[in-house]
């Protein structure tokens, strides 16, 4: 019994020492911290594809959310997905399209730029979120925006191999067709997109 008491008292001492180490480390590192991506509760709901959660937060919030450390608004986050599998991407697109509508209804700026000059439409074009890109365009997203390196939403969709988005954007941003053609050619020669996808993209750009 005495030994058990000793073990428990050791446990409490070690727990207290561990907690002290954590508190000291937390204080020591606090000046290095930056606002992380999911510091915004809205972004946490977007990340989980939790539409109900996002709606609840939007109902309580005065606006559609502030930008994060990289200058991305919750709308830009909703327009971004880093997914390779086509089926998963299509499923995510359906959920994100509803979120984008909710954010725009709350007054989110469809043309807010992040630190590198990317608009929500550019995030959607890179991600391959076809429905989401469509909604953004319908709700006033500009297609002629270029980032700090000169990339357009059209060129991003072409470089990643998303023919449907290219078809939509090539009519909206005819000036960007040449660079989109170059991007698709580079993607084809680097093995990022296959010949069939490239052919579809070239057809849309040549119309």
């Amino acid at each position: 019994m005495t030994r058990l008491r000793d073990i428990i008292s050791d446990g409490i001492i070690l727990f207290a020492v561990s907690t002290a180490v954590v508190v000291v480390a937390d204080l020591g590192f606090s000046y290095l911290k930056e606002s992380g991506k999911t510091d915004s509760p809205m972004v946490a709901s977007i990340d989980k594809n939790d539409l109900e959660g996002l709606r609840e937060k939007l109902a309580k919030a005065p606006n559609a959310g502030a930008p994060d450390a990289q200058g991305r608004t919750p709308l830009a986050w909703a327009a971004y997905a880093n997914i390779e599998t086509a089926a998963t991407l299509a499923e995510t697109d359906g959920k994100r399209a509803a979120m984008i509508t909710a954010l725009l209804d709350k007054g989110a700026d469809p043309n807010a730029l992040d630190n590198d000059g990317w608009s929500p439409l550019m995030w959607a074009a890179w991600s391959g979120l076809t429905k989401s890109a469509d909604i953004l365009i319908q709700r006033g997203a500009r297609c002629d925006i270029r980032d700090s390196k000169g990339h357009s939403a059209l060129a991003l969709a072409a470089a990643r191999g998303f023919p449907e988005i290219v078809a939509e954007l090539s009519t909206q941003d005819p000036a960007g067709r040449k660079s989109a053609m170059d991007a698709a050619n580079a993607a084809l020669s680097n093995g990022v997109i296959d010949e069939k996808t490239a052919a579809e993209i070239f057809r849309s750009l040549e119309k």
Binding site: D10, F15, A25, Y80, L156
Partner: protein, 477 residues
Amino acid sequence: MFAFVTRYFSEFRILKSASRDFWLTNGIQFFDGLAYFSMITVLSLYLTTNCGFSDVDSGKWVGIYTLYITAFVFAVGSICDVIGIKRSLVIGISLLILSRLGLGVAPLFLRDDPLQLTVKGLIIVMSLGTAFMSPVIMTALRRYTSKETRATGFNVYYLLMNIGAVIANALIVDLMRTGKAFGLVVFKGFGNVTGNLVILDIGFGAAICALVCSLLLREHNWAEPSERNAVSTAKRPLHLFLEVWREKPFQKLVLFLVLTLGVRLVFTHQFLVMPKYYTRMLGSDFELGFANSINPIIIVIGLIVLIPVINRFATIKLIILGMAVSAFSLVFLAVPIDWVLRLPFLHNHEQAYYFIIVTQIVVFAVGELIFSPRFTEYIASVAPPDKVSSYMALSALPMFIAKPINGFISGILISRYCYDGIRPKIETGNVGYVHSPEFMWMIYLSLAVLSPIAVIALKGYLTRGDSQPPAPGTNAS
């Protein structure tokens, strides 16, 4: 090679005489390993994606989890002597059942602050449960094996642990998240959000299986009857520390352990940094379980083929060589990605990241294989003969402090250099080297290379007056 394999497995024949309790203990370890390795692979992703923790906070809480495990292991190390193996296992596994179930279902019912508070509480409960497992299983294996079968028994334990890690990563993690196993499509998968919850729920199921095994154990079954009445000499860890902290060999050991922290912390990157790095560079549906299973596969093969060969060399030389190889592995991740793209067989960023990731994993595993088993042997060699177990018990001290600090550092570095959404910016040339994930790895590389350099510089001091030379061919794994 075939000879090594047959020699390795032929010694397992001796275990025909091992009792049912020995195999039940291995069953407990296997089920717990499945749950632990699958959970630890997705823990940082779960905290961010399912619970809304920032990168900084998720790194911090994974660090806190590992810190409390170490703290509680110090405390419960001798608990078996007091309450027995069976009760210790039932308590530990019950805590794991409660916490894994809680973590698996909490995001379905809670949101925001209530969810995060619940998860933090469950992480602390899980760390206490995890702390019970390793020391109690070690005691059980010792009790259920005779002097003749003990060494082989521990080899089986180590082998099963690594096989469990492979199955947990390649089958459970990948299958649940992506529906793929070893690249083959099996079903649609649950995706990167629900998949994390399913993985934790499978851990709950595995813990139930472990509980059933532990309930079938017989407490009073000593394979070595002479050990039945042996009085335990295990001392409380705090007393041990007060006894030895003024001793020169102990101070020398602490210096050695601190010097090697840079490389040993690379082990913790596997669950602190890698899951986010992999999924952010290669897509959230990347098969990260497959990447994490390469290491245990190499360890298992190396255990059979390489260990008998490398055990012929001196301990300190192998430690330095192994650490240098492990530290060097980070070079692949720290090189600017545009330089990697100049290799003739790589054409795009995705291929380049696959190449550096797989190469780093393989090179690191080889280094680990060389130095990790020799580490324990070195600790035993510097300790005075009557204090080997005390030195062993206290050897975790430097890591105890370093783990949470590494958790904090990893969170901060990820949020700065490997934030979600950095991949498109890298592909479009918007991210320079000093803002890239490669720079983050350069920071880790700088820390890691300090270890072999420092050990080489102080080799004379560290090896002077070793109390006993390491026995050739000893495998401390």
